[in-house]
């Protein structure tokens, strides 16, 4: 049985698992962005929060994913369904690069540009939305890109708690000591990661036409 045949014979299951995988990654990235970008902005406004927030996000990243899944199993509502746990854990892992890049993106905007905007009578809000965020956007997208690639990989482990995704093949292959089956999960997952990386890189370049 070679891999190509395996994929052809199991194309339904393969697409099912790929969709599950994409759903886990998509949802957790959505949550991570919705929480991470405002947090990143907030710590540029209240610089004292910078260390505690970034520190907490780093500590979360050091928790082994299986252990994090385990902790969350005990939480009411969340622990009822494996995919809820998986999405929350993955979102937590994705936070650090997003918060950090939002912060460095905004603080990295040339202060002369910000000051000239302020000098022309722009309000803080106008400066944030018209100047700082647009100029920081490439850096923020780069953070999302790193987080996405990371999440596609970690999401394979979610199969261990029954959340589905391409990790199913990997864990099945591990249980059956079948390298082909492990590869059947690993290769599409790697392809997804590369695809996301490439797509977001393209987006990052499209978003800064001014830089040529």
């Amino acid at each position: 049985m070679n891999l190509v045949n395996f994929f052809l014979n199991n194309r339904l299951e393969l697409s099912q698992l790929t969709l599950e995988h994409l759903r886990l990654v998509g949802l957790s990235m959505l949550f991570a962005i919705v929480a991470g970008v405002p947090l990143g902005i907030a710590i540029t406004r209240w610089r004292r929060l910078n260390k505690p927030v970034l520190g907490t996000a780093s500590v979360i990243q050091t928790i082994p994913s299986l252990a994090l899944f385990g902790f969350l199993l005990a939480v009411p509502w969340l622990g009822e369904r494996a995919d809820r746990i998986a999405v929350l854990s993955l979102a937590l892992y994705a936070l650090l690069p997003i918060i950090r890049n939002t912060y460095t993106g905004i603080t990295g905007v040339d202060q002369a540009i910000v000051e000239s905007g302020r000098g022309m009578g722009m309000t803080d809000r106008q400066l944030l939305f018209q100047v700082e965020l647009p100029l920081a956007l490439p850096t923020i997208i780069a953070g999302v890109r790193v987080a996405t690639v990371l999440t596609v990989g970690v999401a394979t482990i979610a199969a261990a708690i029954g959340a589905g995704g391409l990790g199913e093949y990997i864990f099945r292959g591990l249980a059956m000591v079948n390298d082909q089956l492990i590869l059947a999960g690993a290769i599409p997952a790697a392809a997804l990661a590369l695809f996301a990386d490439f797509g977001l890189d393209l987006l990052e370049k499209r978003l800064r036409p001014w830089a040529a």
Binding site: I113, E115, S116, R118, L135
Partner: protein
């Protein structure tokens, strides 16, 4: 708040000091900027000239004393309203790199809520005023030469027709020939527009060319206020030192 003695003055500094941390950047400054004049703040880096400028549009606030703009203390102005009445030009980095030339110029009118037709007309008018091809309007700042960018900076500052204009070494980053062109054009423009201008430079030649009066600053103190003619013949030691330094290097100096 108001003081009839300052009637002809657009801006008045009253014993203004500014302290940042433990550094006294400006000490007891008394200075008037008259309506319609171009007052040049001349001095070395660290002399306090940029601080003086930023006190006018309240990018910094006085540690003591007060700054009156149109007879009202800057602290009594709403800072946003104050700044919208004051054009601000700094070295080329001040343009928004992610805005086209046109969007840069229309920024303040847009913030002020002008309608679209009026803004479009104003942008054309301004491009023409500063001698730029209207076709450049769609370009991004990095696609322009340094001289063109600086013209855009001036157009942007003039966009909402503010009565006051603050310029912080606007021509400092240009090559000598372009700088010379822009200085002369700016002088002609100023004679037509009759704005009150406060202009920061460390270049004496620029100060003599553009200023109706020159305020010489050194280490946070005002040393002298004089017309260009008076300045050239001043017996003040620092003014003489400036004249000597600039005069002596006449052939070979790069002006910066």
């Amino acid at each position: 708040m108001t003081d009839p003695a300052h009637d002809s003055a657009a801006i008045v500094f009253e014993r203004v000091s500014y302290v940042a941390g433990s550094n006294l950047l400006l000490r007891d400054l008394d200075l008037e900027v008259r309506r319609g004049e171009t007052l040049v703040l001349l001095g070395r880096s660290g002399s306090g000239k940029t601080t003086t400028l930023k006190l006018i549009n309240r990018l910094v606030e006085p540690s003591s004393g007060r700054v009156l703009v149109e007879r009202r203390s800057t602290l009594d102005w709403d800072p946003i309203g104050l700044r919208r009445r004051i054009g601000y030009v700094i070295q080329e980095v001040g343009l928004f790199p992610h805005f086209s030339v046109e969007r840069n110029i229309r920024l303040v009118p847009e913030l002020e809520g002008w309608d679209g037709n009026r803004i479009a007309g104003r942008v054309r008018e301004l491009l023409d005023l500063v001698g730029l091809d209207p076709a450049l309007g769609r370009r991004y700042p990095r696609e322009l030469s340094g001289g063109q960018r600086q013209r855009v900076g001036v157009a942007r500052a003039l966009a909402a027709d503010p009565p006051l204009l603050l310029m912080d070494e606007p021509f400092g980053a240009l090559d000598p020939i372009t700088r010379n062109d822009l200085q002369h054009e700016f002088r002609a423009l100023q004679q037509r527009l009759n704005k009150t201008v406060v202009f920061v430079t460390h270049d004496l030649r620029e100060a003599l060319l553009l200023g109706s009066r020159i305020a010489l600053l050194e280490a946070g103190r005002l040393v002298l206020v004089a017309t260009p003619e008076e300045f050239k013949h001043s017996s003040n030691p620092l003014a003489m030192a400036y004249m000597a330094a600039f005069g002596a290097g006449e052939d070979g100096r790069d002006g910066s």
